[in-house]
């Protein structure tokens, strides 16, 4: 381990403060707890909130996986992984099944997470009501009094204009029959994975300095209408690498004529699936 850094970069007092906020967040599922965020050696928008949460809970035994849009090998994922390797001297992995701690941006792994794992989401905007109500003082009241009509009005408007709800990512959920929560910009395809998940789900917003949590086995419901039920994305195609028909697919253009191909966005899942089918 390099000298000059405390384990996991943050000092112990800061980690303790963040852990206390995490405990509070776990006690009030979906409620956004303000916390005294610290500067991380990374600009806002690059996962500083998630990193502070990870830094506060990571231990020497942990095996860390970091993904960005489902991939382990993107620049952002690799640099966060290297950072923790350097300041914690811990093991990292690409394998979802091997990881005890997963930090993610924009996806939930396809492989079902288990009770020995924790997933930490990077959160760009924690407030699901922000676009509908710009004033922070008012959104706090809306949450406190459970006045969520506006949220459904948004869905109403989309159905009226387009025939169905067109929001495909950061699709709002209701946590534990109480707080409306922003699931971060994951595709709505991933929303059902949040429901009753065995793993602890933690959310860190660096710029907005908020932490929220969904404890294991918590009900998470995507907002909808009785007569327009929530639906996830589907594809006619399967993954052109592993043949999966069950995973979230990215569309890629593979030649100058604009021919399209579909591949799993979760690179670890794709690899494992390919090996399994060999």
């Amino acid at each position: 381990m390099k000298t000059g850094f405390n384990f996991a970069y943050l000092d112990e007092a800061t980690k303790r403060m963040i852990r206390r906020k995490i405990l509070k967040a776990v006690c009030i599922p979906g409620y956004q707890c303000p916390f005294g965020g610290r500067e991380m050696p990374l600009a806002y928008g690059w996962g500083t909130g998630g990193m502070q949460v990870t830094a506060s809970i990571i231990g020497k035994q942990d095996i860390l996986k970091v993904i960005d849009q489902g991939a382990d090998d993107t620049t952002n994922a690799v640099s966060i992984k290297n950072f923790f390797k350097r300041v914690c001297n811990i093991m990292t992995t690409d394998r979802t099944t091997e990881a005890s701690l997963i930090q993610t941006r924009h996806r939930i792994p396809e492989t079902t997470l288990n009770k020995d794992q924790i997933i930490v989401y990077q959160v760009p905007q924690p407030e699901p009501l922000r676009k509908l109500e710009p004033k922070e003082k008012e959104t706090r009241k809306l949450h406190a009094y459970k006045e969520y009509a506006l949220m459904h009005v948004k869905l109403y408007e989309e159905i009226s204009q387009f025939g169905s709800v067109i929001k495909t990512w950061a699709y709002p959920v209701e946590t534990n029959n109480r707080y409306i929560t922003d699931p971060t910009p994951i595709p709505k395809f991933d929303n059902p994975k949040m429901n009753n998940m065995e793993a602890l789900q933690l959310f860190g917003a660096g710029r907005e300095k908020r932490i929220y949590a969904i404890p294991p086995y918590t009900k998470v419901k995507s907002l909808d209408f009785d007569d327009h039920p929530f639906e996830i994305q589907t594809w006619d195609e399967c993954c052109s690498i592993c043949g999966s028909t069950k995973s979230y697919l990215d569309e890629i253009i593979i030649n100058n004529e604009g021919k399209k191909n579909f591949i799993c966005s979760d690179t670890d899942f794709c690899k494992s699936n390919l090996e399994k089918n060999k």
Binding site: A149, H152, D226
Partner: protein
């Protein structure tokens, strides 16, 4: 006959610093009744209505309300959450300027849906049909349900605001000069609409106006205000035909001259 008292007001008083807003107001409001508040500019009509509808906290006095469920409550000491909930569904304020009561960023139907969503189940067709129903009821073209408030004329915006408020089947509706900012010909038509609806759905209403024709046409009971106090009160026809207070006499004679 046993008509339910839904509001009891006692010694209601509001000062803006040293300036009297309204003072020593007493009245009872019964279910299905339409109460008019008249008086010259600055007489305290809006102040009284704002105290009654929870927009401002009066300096003194008492307001007891009787809800459909929950028995008699002391309105002024209700927690903020309950007051807000009341305003969002069981009570409704129709503002003089429709833009104060409408969300301009959402469609006509969305505005009505927002109010319904505070009380109803989450069913799109229900919101849609109820929205259209109320637009038609207020004589709007329900084909325009997906248009935004700013694409409507002032009169239509006011009709939309009324649709929105009435759609949740409120117990009490408060209106402060609901046609104040509109052309006279439009005013008359909207008042006609209001009249036919309120009789139809038997809503309880408190309406502020300084138009005695509106009062005659719409209200059952009347409070006449001057300088912040109520100078005369009674059944509308009685007050207008046989005014007792000199100010009311002046007021009623001036309308006759018009």
């Amino acid at each position: 006959m046993n008509i339910k008292k839904i509001m009891h007001v006692e010694n209601l008083t509001h000062f803006y610093g040293n300036q009297i807003g309204c003072k020593g107001i007493n009245f009872d409001l019964y279910k299905g009744e339409i109460l008019g508040i008249v008086g010259e500019s600055g007489s305290g009509k809006s102040t009284l209505l704002k105290c009654l509808s929870g927009e401002i906290s009066p300096s003194a006095g008492k307001i007891n309300i009787s809800l459909d469920q929950g028995g008699v409550k002391d309105f002024l000491s209700l927690p903020e959450q309950e007051k807000r909930q009341l305003m969002r569904s069981m009570w409704g304020i129709v503002h003089q300027n429709p833009r104060d009561g409408l969300n301009l960023r959402i469609s006509a139907g969305g505005n009505i849906a927002e109010r319904l969503l505070n009380v109803s189940e989450k069913n799109y067709s229900f919101l849609r049909n109820t929205g259209k129903y109320w637009m038609e009821k207020t004589e709007m073209d329900s084909d325009r349900i997906d248009e935004f408030p700013l694409s409507f004329s002032g009169g239509m915006q006011q009709r939309l605001q009324i649709s929105k408020i009435l759609s949740s089947n409120p117990q009490i509706v408060f209106m402060d000069e609901p046609t104040g900012g509109l052309d006279v010909s439009v005013q008359a038509k909207i008042l006609d609409t209001i009249k036919s609806i309120v009789r139809d759905i038997n809503v309880t209403m408190i309406i502020v106006t300084h138009d005695l024709a509106v009062v005659r046409f719409l209200t059952d009971k009347l409070l006449v205000m001057k300088d912040g106090i109520v100078v005369e009160t009674g059944l509308t026809d009685r007050v207008l035909d046989d005014p007792q207070h000199s100010y009311t006499q002046l007021l009623t004679s001036s309308i006759l001259q018009v």
